[in-house]
Every structure is written in C-alpha cells, then in structure tokens.
C-alpha cells in the first residue's frame, strides 16, 4: 500500500470536454488542483459537475482533453487502476456484504490475482486488510460496527462507511459527488467536519462536487463555479462574495443587488446620474453588483451614495432586509441592524463602498 506519508498529488484537468452525440455537456474545462487542496466544484444540477468527476475517476472517457496526476496522464488507465477514489451521493454499500467486507472490498480487489491491483500498490495480507479495515472504521467513528449488515445502519452511518471504503485505499485524489445531499441538516454539518478532518489528516487532494453554495464555501479552500458545462470562475470562497469573478457567478451566489448603468472615464453612472461609483471596468453598458450587507446607511449624502425611498422592510432574523426604490426606478436591498428605525416611505441615503462594488459589462442578450 502507498506510504501514508507521501506528499499530496496535483490534479490537472486540461481542456477536458464531454460530448454526447451532438450535445456538448462540458466545453473545454481547465482546472488545476494544487497538492493538498480542497476544491469544491459548485454548480446547479445538470451543469456537468458529476460528468467531470466521472472523467477523472475513469468511468467516462473524455471526448477531448487530458487528466493529469502529478504531470502524468491518467487517460490510459481504466477506472480500477487509477489511484483515485470516488464517493457517490448514495452510500452504495453492497447489500450482500457486511460493513467490514464492504470496507475491505477495494483492498481485496487489489489483492485479487487478476492483476487489477495496478498502480494502487502492493498486495496487503489478510491480517493487514482486517487491521486496516478496523482502523478505518474507528477513524470514521464506527468502531465495533464492522460485523453489522448493511440495512442495520442509519443513512449517515452508511455514508461514513462509504467514505471509509474509499479512504482505506489511500487514494491520492478523493472525489466526492454530493455525498451529503441525502442527509438531514445536522448530519450534514457533522459529515462536513469529518470530511475536512480526514482530508487534512490523510494529506489528500480533494475534489468535491456540490450544488449547495453554503457547503462549498464552508468546506473548500477554493471554489470552482460551473455553469452550463463551463467554469465561471475559480477563486477562494470569500472572493465570490467580495469580488465575484463574473456576473453569472455573482448571480449564482444570490441575494445581491444589480444596478444598470454606463461606464465611462473610469466611473459607473446610473441613467439619471444620481449615483457615481469609480471603477476600472471597460466603458459601455454595464451592470454593477453589490451585496446587501455591503451597503451602508448614511445620514447625509456621501460620495458614491444614492438617495431612495423605502418600499419594504422584512425581518430576517439577525438583521432587517430593507428595499429602497431609487429615483431612476431601480431598487437596492440593504441589510440594516435590528432596531434601526425605518418605515415604508422613509427617505434614505445609501452609500456604496467602491471596494465592495463589482462592475461587469452588460451581457448582450440582456440589452434593454
């Protein structure tokens, strides 16, 4: 078996494409996972994230492009020889085996004389298999449950067995395909912590597919946002809030303000000139994006501020979400602290800190 102290691996996807007949599911995808990094591949269902995982795991041959592990292509190797483990959305425990036998499945397959051990290392002995299985079950906090049958565990426990079954092989890359989406909220949080712990402990390079942005930003070092088979941006989780890489990325992360206007001579202006914000964006019809929590209520008219009239206020637990109509008919939403005295119809002045504003060219199909 691979030495557990080996350095983590670098995974590179180069120009990866998947086409089914005339339908293009994934269009030339480039993504590099640094050794030891935890990357979330985030996107709505049907955007091609699971297809990407399948190609890395070897379960689907890419139509184009390459998958490199530490610089060497994986494409020539069938799924069973790739030093990569995949955990699916469902636990997929083999129902005719006990928990122990499930966890040992990969180790036994590697031991098999049909040569399928491949690049995964030498064959462990029977005693070694039993020991590793017991250790791994202990590690996912299922110690002592090894002799149970599959139906006797809860959903969360089953998914932990699935995780143990993948990790006991000491993969160089761990692929997770929405592994918690069928669990309830409490369990999801617990599983996230466990996965993150295991990632750090085993020095893994992890690629985690999810449609849940909250899960992605909580868990990952880097988030790769995928929409319609293309990467919309790869960045640290905070960046998607503070400085989104694209308009589509900003929209995917939701609860944001969009203002239409024009950029010229280094500043963004709304149609009636009520608001001016400095920007480095190119000239032309543009959209300014700013999150409601970035806006500041100001008493007097500051620079980069705009006046408006409150149209709705909505209690949102830890704060109040206020919507204000601007003079040109557009509107802004702002989060204000509880206890702020604002009523519908009040005049407010909203400051837009330039650093929290991002300006994108207006997409051609949205031209008014």
């Amino acid at each position: 078996m691979a030495d557990p102290t080996t350095q983590a691996s670098r995974l590179e996807l180069r120009g990866l494409a998947a086409r089914f007949g005339d339908v293009s599911a994934i269009e030339s995808l480039d993504l590099t996972l640094e050794p030891g990094s935890f990357t979330a591949l985030l996107g709505p269902s049907g955007c091609g994230k699971s297809t990407t995982l399948s190609m890395v795991a070897g379960l689907l041959a890419p139509s184009d492009g390459d998958v490199l592990l530490d610089g060497a292509s994986l494409l020539g190797q069938p799924a069973e020889r790739r030093p990569v483990s995949l955990v699916f959305q469902k636990p997929l425990l083999f129902p005719h085996l006990t928990i122990e036998q499930n966890v040992a499945y990969g180790l036994r397959a590697r031991r098999a004389p049909d040569g399928s051990r491949g690049a995964r290392g030498s064959r462990p002995g029977k005693a070694a298999v039993a020991r590793q299985v017991a250790e791994m079950l202990e590690r996912v906090r299922l110690g002592g449950l090894g002799s149970r049958r599959v139906g006797e565990l809860s959903g969360g426990q089953e998914q932990r067995v699935s995780l143990a079954r993948a990790l006991v092989l000491r993969p160089r890359v761990l692929l997770l395909d929405e592994p918690f989406s069928q669990l309830d909220a409490d369990l999801r949080g617990e599983m996230r912590r466990l996965v993150r712990e295991l990632h750090d402990e085993f020095d893994l390079t992890t690629l985690f597919v999810t449609h849940d942005q909250e899960e992605a930003v909580e868990l990952a070092d880097r988030v790769a946002l995928m929409l319609d088979g293309r990467l919309e941006g790869v960045a640290a989780p905070e960046a998607f809030y503070l400085d989104p890489p694209s308009l589509a990325a900003a929209r995917f992360f939701g609860v944001t303000n969009e203002l239409r206007g024009t950029v010229s001579a280094g500043s963004f202006r709304t149609a009636d000139g009520a608001l001016t914000v400095p920007t480095t964006a190119r000239d032309g019809e543009s959209i300014l994006v700013v999150r409601p929590e970035a806006l500041v209520l100001s008493a007097t008219s500051e620079p980069h501020a705009v006046g408006g009239r409150v149209t709705t206020t909505r209690f949102a637990g830890s704060d109040v979400l206020v919507e204000a109509a601007l003079t040109d008919g557009q509107s802004l939403r702002v989060r204000v602290p509880l206890g702020t005295r604002l009523a519908v119809g009040d005049s407010v002045c909203l400051e837009l800190p330039p650093k929290r504003c991002t300006v994108f060219p207006q997409p051609a199909e949205e031209a008014s």
Binding site: S54, A57, E80, L86, H96, A109, R110, S116
Partner: protein
C-alpha cells in the same frame, strides 16, 4: 399469523391433487366405490428404484441443470442489453426473444431437426439441451431484463472505482445484486426443461430417455401403478421447490419479489 395460514392453505391446495396419485402408486387394485385401494403393492416403489428409471432421472437432472445454467447465462447477456440499453429495434428484439413462446415449438423443432441431424446433434443429450433452450431463453431474458432494468448501475461504477476490474465487478457485485431474479429464473427454466416431452422426444429420438418419456410410455400402456409412481417422481422437484419457496416466504420475501419483477 393470517399470512402463515394463507401460505399453508395455498401449499395444501397445491399438494391435494397428489393424494390420488399417491394412492395409485401403491395400489395393486383400486375399484369403484372403494375410498382406499383394495390391495397394496410394492411394484410402484420397485419401479422407481429400477435401473432404467434411476438412469432417466439422472439424465433429466443433468439436462435440466444444463438448460437452467445456459438459459441463465444467455438471459444475463440478453437481459443486460434489453434492460439497460435503449437501442434502435429494442422492441423488435424483445418480441423476437419471446417469439419461441408464441410460435408452437413443435413446428420450429420439426424444421430445426434437419439441421440437428446434419450436425450430428440429433439423438444426443447435447442436442436435447440445445433445443430446450428454445422454450426457456425467452423467459430467462425477460425475467433478467426486468431485473437489469431495476439495477442501479452506480453499484458497478462504485466497484470499478474501488479497484475491481470488469470481471470481478460482475462476479462480486452484479451477480449478487441480481441473485433473487437469478434464482427465480434458474428454478423456472429448470422446471420447463424437467417437464419437457415433445422436444426431447423429437431431438432425442428415443435415445435420450428422460423421466417424462418414461411417464408417457407408462400412461400409453395403461399401467396405472407405474404411471402414478413415475408421475410422483416427475412432480417431486416442482413440489420441493414450492415447499422451499413457501418456507422462504415465511422468512423473507425475496423469491416473490424476484418473480414480481418479471
């Protein structure tokens, strides 16, 4: 416990017709209006233990097991294609697979026989096994096709990703997952082969003697004791299977779910 009573009633109803058969098998004479045979005889028992009958039983068993195994093997591959792939002409293939059940086997066999003679398969057990695939493969392919359609292929993908090659994945994951349907198919095809008469007679040409052949000749010669004794031997496997299924029904319901899927 109502379920248990129901199962018991069904089993009793299935076994009831065997009672007169049992009577005839030991009856030296049994005249109207006697309720029980007038005179008992060992002849039926002796006949069943006779060398010819034992040999025929072994031949029947060998042929039926071979047919069941081959039909399952063919059914697995055909079923995979039908159950998992949406290809052009799939319905036509499905229909053609069922055709041997619809077209009288006798008509087809009369034609096939010419070729069997030409290839030296006529009058051999191998030939009989081959011709019996005709009425069994359609059921095998249909049952296993339905089982494949219900199979979650992610199990296979998971096994591959855990380091198992295609063969190992099939043997250690796919087959166990298909087990209920496979058991049903094996039992059904075994029974079809076990009770087959006409195809065996035509292709076996009297050289391959199975139990149904002996039974029919006993009936033809109006030897009621022999016919009843052989009849009991012929129905023994189906009865045993019914009992086994009933036994499993009380425990688990797998055997029936397998059937219901078909």
């Amino acid at each position: 416990m109502r379920g248990r009573v129901l199962v018991g009633a069904v089993v009793a109803a299935l076994l009831l017709p065997l009672v007169p058969l049992l009577g005839w098998a030991v009856a030296g004479s049994w005249r109207y209006p006697d309720v029980v045979p007038g005179r008992l005889t060992r002849r039926g028992l002796d006949l069943v233990l006779d060398g010819e009958v034992v040999a025929a039983t072994l031949t029947s068993l060998t042929i039926a097991v071979s047919v069941a195994v081959l039909a399952c093997a063919i059914g697995l591959s055909a079923g995979r294609a039908i159950g998992l792939h949406r290809f052009r002409g799939r319905r036509l293939v499905q229909f053609l697979l069922l055709a041997p059940v619809i077209v009288p086997g006798l008509a087809v066999t009369l034609g096939i026989q010419v070729f069997f003679v030409r290839y030296g398969l006529s009058d051999t057990a191998v030939g009989v096994v081959l011709v019996q695939l005709m009425p069994t493969v359609p059921y095998a392919a249909t049952l296993l096709g339905a089982a494949y359609a219900n199979l979650d292929l992610d199990y296979e993908r998971q096994a591959r990703s855990l380091g198992a090659g295609p063969t190992r994945t099939f043997l250690t994951v796919t087959l166990p997952l298909l087990r209920p349907a496979l058991v049903t198919t094996a039992l059904l095809t075994f029974l079809i082969s076990w009770s087959e008469y006409i195809l065996t007679l035509l292709i076996g040409g009297g050289q391959v003697t199975t139990l149904p052949l002996l039974l029919f000749s006993a009936i033809g010669s109006s030897d009621r004791t022999a016919a009843a004794a052989l009849g009991l031997l012929v129905v023994a496997p189906p009865v045993l299977i019914v009992l086994a299924v009933a036994g499993r029904l009380r425990g688990r319901e797998q055997a029936w779910t397998g059937l219901a899927r078909g």
